[in-house]
Assembly symmetry: D4
Homo-oligomer: 170 residues x 8
Amino acid sequence: MPVSEQPLVGVIMGSKSDWPTMQHAVDMLTQFNVPHEVKVVSAHRTPDLMFEYAQTAEARGLQVIIAGAGGAAHLPGMVAAKTLIPVLGVPVKSRALNGQDSLLSIVQMPGGIPVGTLAIGDAGAKNAGILAAQIVGNHNPAVRDAVRAWRQAQTDDVLANPDPSVANAI
Amino acid sequence: MPVSEQPLVGVIMGSKSDWPTMQHAVDMLTQFNVPHEVKVVSAHRTPDLMFEYAQTAEARGLQVIIAGAGGAAHLPGMVAAKTLIPVLGVPVKSRALNGQDSLLSIVQMPGGIPVGTLAIGDAGAKNAGILAAQIVGNHNPAVRDAVRAWRQAQTDDVLANPDPSVANAI
Amino acid sequence: MPVSEQPLVGVIMGSKSDWPTMQHAVDMLTQFNVPHEVKVVSAHRTPDLMFEYAQTAEARGLQVIIAGAGGAAHLPGMVAAKTLIPVLGVPVKSRALNGQDSLLSIVQMPGGIPVGTLAIGDAGAKNAGILAAQIVGNHNPAVRDAVRAWRQAQTDDVLANPDPSVANAI
Amino acid sequence: MPVSEQPLVGVIMGSKSDWPTMQHAVDMLTQFNVPHEVKVVSAHRTPDLMFEYAQTAEARGLQVIIAGAGGAAHLPGMVAAKTLIPVLGVPVKSRALNGQDSLLSIVQMPGGIPVGTLAIGDAGAKNAGILAAQIVGNHNPAVRDAVRAWRQAQTDDVLANPDPSVANAI
Amino acid sequence: MPVSEQPLVGVIMGSKSDWPTMQHAVDMLTQFNVPHEVKVVSAHRTPDLMFEYAQTAEARGLQVIIAGAGGAAHLPGMVAAKTLIPVLGVPVKSRALNGQDSLLSIVQMPGGIPVGTLAIGDAGAKNAGILAAQIVGNHNPAVRDAVRAWRQAQTDDVLANPDPSVANAI
Amino acid sequence: MPVSEQPLVGVIMGSKSDWPTMQHAVDMLTQFNVPHEVKVVSAHRTPDLMFEYAQTAEARGLQVIIAGAGGAAHLPGMVAAKTLIPVLGVPVKSRALNGQDSLLSIVQMPGGIPVGTLAIGDAGAKNAGILAAQIVGNHNPAVRDAVRAWRQAQTDDVLANPDPSVANAI
Amino acid sequence: MPVSEQPLVGVIMGSKSDWPTMQHAVDMLTQFNVPHEVKVVSAHRTPDLMFEYAQTAEARGLQVIIAGAGGAAHLPGMVAAKTLIPVLGVPVKSRALNGQDSLLSIVQMPGGIPVGTLAIGDAGAKNAGILAAQIVGNHNPAVRDAVRAWRQAQTDDVLANPDPSVANAI
Amino acid sequence: MPVSEQPLVGVIMGSKSDWPTMQHAVDMLTQFNVPHEVKVVSAHRTPDLMFEYAQTAEARGLQVIIAGAGGAAHLPGMVAAKTLIPVLGVPVKSRALNGQDSLLSIVQMPGGIPVGTLAIGDAGAKNAGILAAQIVGNHNPAVRDAVRAWRQAQTDDVLANPDPSVANAI
C-alpha cells in the first residue's frame, strides 16, 4: 500500500475482508496522487482504536476519512461522531442482504452527524476515492487537474467506442 | 422514573424522542420489581459518555443493558463492543423507513459482538423489559416468579375473553 | 457433538439443513466451556416435541435456549411461548428471500413473548453462542472470563494486522 | 357473531385487535350461509389452547380453518402443523411494517405443512371467507350456488356502473 | 406425467420453465393417489386457452386448480376470476427479484376473487400439492388417510434423527 | 368525462376507487385535445368485458390503452395479452404496500407481452396521459405541438420562480 | 448491428456492459424489420452527447427511443426531459440490488416527464423492442403485421406443447 | 433566504415542494456563516439550466453543491456529471415509497461520478448543510470553529438532560 508524505485522506475499513472492495478507493487516490494512509479499524472489535483514530485525524492533517464497512456498519457514523473532518462511507456488500443493511446503517444518520454515503460495493469505493480527491482538489489545483484529466479520459473512452456490440480497441 | 437500590438493568436510549417507545421496557422492569436505571446516552452526540457507560457497566453490577435507537442505530452495537454483559437492542420506529433501518442497523451485527434484538417499536421495548427480567430471573426466583405470574395472567385474560366481537369485561 | 455434564444451554434447529449455520453457535459454546445440548426440533413437523422441550427446559436446568430456523421461522417464538428462560433466535438464510423472511418471522414478536434475535446466518449463530455465554457468565466467572479472553484475542488480532492488503501471519 | 348449527369453518385470530380485519371473513361466511365459529386463539399467549383447537378440529367436523394474525404471525402455520384440514392464513396489517412481516411469516412455510395465504388486511380476510366457501362448496351445492350468485352480482355491479366519474346509483 | 382416471386437481403453469418447480406439486398428488392433470397454460401467451380452461373446470369435475407462475404472475388470479372452484397459487422464483414479484402478484388479490397462495418456489409447489390433497381429503377418506400417513412418516423421520451433526440412516 | 369524436386513447381502470388517481391521465389527454374514452373494466370482476375491450380496441381505432390498477394488478398485462396496440400501465397506490405490489404486478411482464409502466399513483397517471399523447403525436402534429407548448410552459414556470422560499406569483 | 435505412427507433445504453441485456431489444426490432440505430450514450460520462442525442431525435425522424441503464439509472429520464418522442426505459440488472435500484430510478419519474418502463433485465429489453414496434405499427401496417405474426407463433408454440414434462419438438 | 457575499455552497432542489426539507440545509449553512445561494433547478423540467448551473459552478467559486430531489431523483447525479466540485445529495421523502426510490436514485451512482448521499428527509438535509460546512471548514478556520462550537453545544445539551422522562429545561 503506497503511503507517501503527510497523508491527506485516511482509508479505513472494519475488516480485512473489506479490502477487495476498499482497494478501489485507494486505487483512485493513487491515480490522483493524493497522499493517503490505509488501515483496518474495527468499530466493534477495536472501538478504542477507532475513537483514537477519529479523534486525532484533524490534528494529523487529514482532510477526509473514507470508512467502509458491511452489515450493521457502524464505523463511518461513529468515526464521524468523533471528528470534524468530512467522513465518507462505503457500504460493503454483505452476505445475506447484499449491502442493503450496510447502506441503511451508514446513510440513515440522525441530524447532527453527517456521513456522505456512496454506492454499495466496488462502485461506491471507487467513487469515495474520487469524491475525496474532489474535496481535496478544492484547494489543491494539481489534484483537481488530475481528476479533470481522468474524467475527460473517461468521457473520451465512451465517445470513441459508441458501438456496444464491438469490443473496445486494446 | 423509579430507580431503586443497586440497578441490575440499565435502560439507555439515543434521544429523548425515544422515550415514548422505551418507557414500555421500563414499565415491565417496574412490574417485575427489577432494579433499574434510565438514561439518555447518544452514540453520535455523546460518544465518550457511551463508552464510559458501557465500560463501567459490569463493575457497577448491571446484568443486562437495554439500548433503544432509531435510523442508523449504532447505540446497541457500540455498547456491546465495550462490555461483556448481555445487550438487548430495541429498534425505534424511524420517520421515513418505519424502523426497517433501525432494525437492520441493530440486528445485523458481525460475528463476535452480539446484540439480542427485539421487534420494532413499542412491542420490542416491552419485550426487552421482559427478556431482561427473564435473564435476571435465571438466578433471582422472585423475578422469575413475577414473570411467571404476569405471563399466566396474560394467558388467563385471553382465555376469559374468547369472543373477539365482544368488548372485554371491566 | 460434545455434550458434557448438565447442559446450561440448549441449541435446537428446525431441520438438519440448518446445521451448517447453527454449528457456529455450538462452536462458541464449546470454546467457552459452556455445557450444552444439541437437537433437531421442528415446529411444524414435531410440534409436540417442541412443546415438551420448551416446557421441561426450566426444570432441566437450562439457562438459555438458542433456536435457529428459516423461512416462516416459528420455532424460536413458539418455544418462547412455552418457557420462562431466555430464548435467542437465529434467522437461517432461506433460499428465495435470503433470510429476510426468517428474520421478520423471528424478530417481530408481539408484546408479551420476547425472542432475542441475532443476525441472519453464520454471524448470527456465532453471536447467539456468544450471547448465551454472556448470559451464563453473569453468574459464572469462568465462562465470563473465557468470553473476556476470547474477545481480547479478537481485538489483539485486529491490532496486530492493521494493513488490509497483507495476508495475516500464520 | 351468528354461530348456527354444526360449524364447518373455524375462524380464529391471535388477538381481539385483529377483529376489525377478520370480521370481513365472517361476513362472507354469513353471506353464504356457511355454519362457522369464531374465537380468539393466541399462538403465543395461549399455545395449549391453540394445539387443542387444531387437534380436535377434524373430529369436530370442521372443513376449513381461517387463521388471522399480525407481525411474527405464527398462528396459521402452527395450527396447520396440528391438523389435516385445510388452513387459510390472513396476514393482518402490522404497525411498523404494514403486514409485510405478517405476510412472510404466514406464506413462507417449509415444504410439508401448507397454509393457503390471502392478501394483507381486509381484502385478504374477505377472500379467506370466500375461499373457505368455495372449498365447502365443492360438496355443498347450496353454498356453491350462493357464491355463484354473489360473484354474478359483483360482476353485474361493475357492468352497470362503467363511468368511474359518476357515483353509483342507490 | 401420470394422468389417471377423472382428474380432481388441475396443475397448470405459465411456461415449461416452471416445470422444475411445479413438478413438486405433481409429486405430492401422485404420492397421495389424487387423480390429476398437468398442462402449460399461459395467461399472456394463451389467454383464450386460460379462460376456457378455467371456465370448464367445474363441469369437468375438478375440485382444485393449482397454478404456478413467475414475475408479473397473472395466471392464478385470472383463473380464479373465471371459476368457482378453489385456486391455489405458487409463486415461481423469478430471475431478478427471486419471486418477490411473483408472490405479490399472486397473493395481493382484491377482495372478491381469492387465491390461496403458497411459498415461493419448490416448497410452495410441494405444499400446493399437499393442500390440494387436504381439500380433496375433506370428502375422500383414502386421500385424507394418505396425507395422514405421510405426515406421520415425516414426523417420525425427524424424531428418529435428532442429532443434526450426524447424517441420516438411509 | 368529455369523450369527443372517435377516441384514440382508451383509459380503463379496475375499480371506481381508482378514479382519483386515473383522472390525472384523463386531464392530460383533455389538455392536449386527444380524443379518448374512459371506462371501468375489472380484470377480476369482469374478465369477459376486459377481453372484449382489448380484442376490439384495434378495430375501433384506439392507438393507446392506458390501464390503471392496484394490488395484484392484472388489468394492464391481461389487456396487453389481447391486443397489438401499445398498453401503458399505471400502478395505483395500494392500502398495505403503497403500490409496491401494483408496480411489480404491472412492470415485471414476461418477455413477449410488454406493458409500458409509469410511476405509482398520481404522477404515473399524469405521465401516462402525456406519454399517450406523445405516441399519438408521432403522427398528429396538433397533438405534438400541444405537448410541446405544455412542456415549455412547465419549464418557463420553473425558470420564473427560482426562489423556493417564496410562494409563486398569481 | 444491422442499421438499415432511416432509423425509426434509437436504442441507447449507458455502458457496453449493458449490451448483453439490450441486444434483446435490438433482436426484436430486427425481427420486425423496424429500422433502428444502436449506440452507447452515458448520462454520467457523456452528458453532452446525451443531450444532443435526445434533442435531435425528433428532427432525425426517430419515433421511439429505448434507453437501458442500471443502478442510479438516469439515462431514460434525462433523455425524456430533452425530447417529445416517446421514451421507453429498461432497468438493467445491477450487481448489488438486482435491478431494484435501476427500476425505481427509471419508473418513479415526477409528473411531467414520462418514461414507459419495462421489466428488469432481458425480458424488459425484449419487451421494449416489441413495444417500440407496436408504437411504430400504429401507422405502419407491415410492422404491425410482423408483430401480429410473431405473437401468433408464440401462442401456437405454447398450444402445440402443452405437456411441461416433455421437451419441445425442435 | 440570506445570500451574503460570494457564495461557497449552492443549494438546489428539483421543486418548490422540496423546500420544507431543504431549508434545513440552508439553516445549518446560515448557522455556520457559510455564504450560500439557493435555487430551484429541475433536472427534468429545466435540464438546460441544470447543466449551465453545474458547468459554471467551479468558475463561480462554489466549493460544494447540495442537491435535493425526490422519486426518480436525477438532479444530484446529473449535476455531479457536469462539475468537478463535490456534490452532496439529499433524498427527499416521496409520496408512495417514503424516499426509498429517492435514496437509491441518488446513492447508487456508477463508478466514475460520485454523489455523497445523506439520509432521507429533514435529517439528511440538515446533515448536508453540516457536511458542506465541514468541507469548507478544511480551509476556513472560522467555519470549522463554528461547527466545533455547535457540535459541542449539541453534546452538552444531551449531557445536561439525561433523564428521558423529564422535559428539557428551556
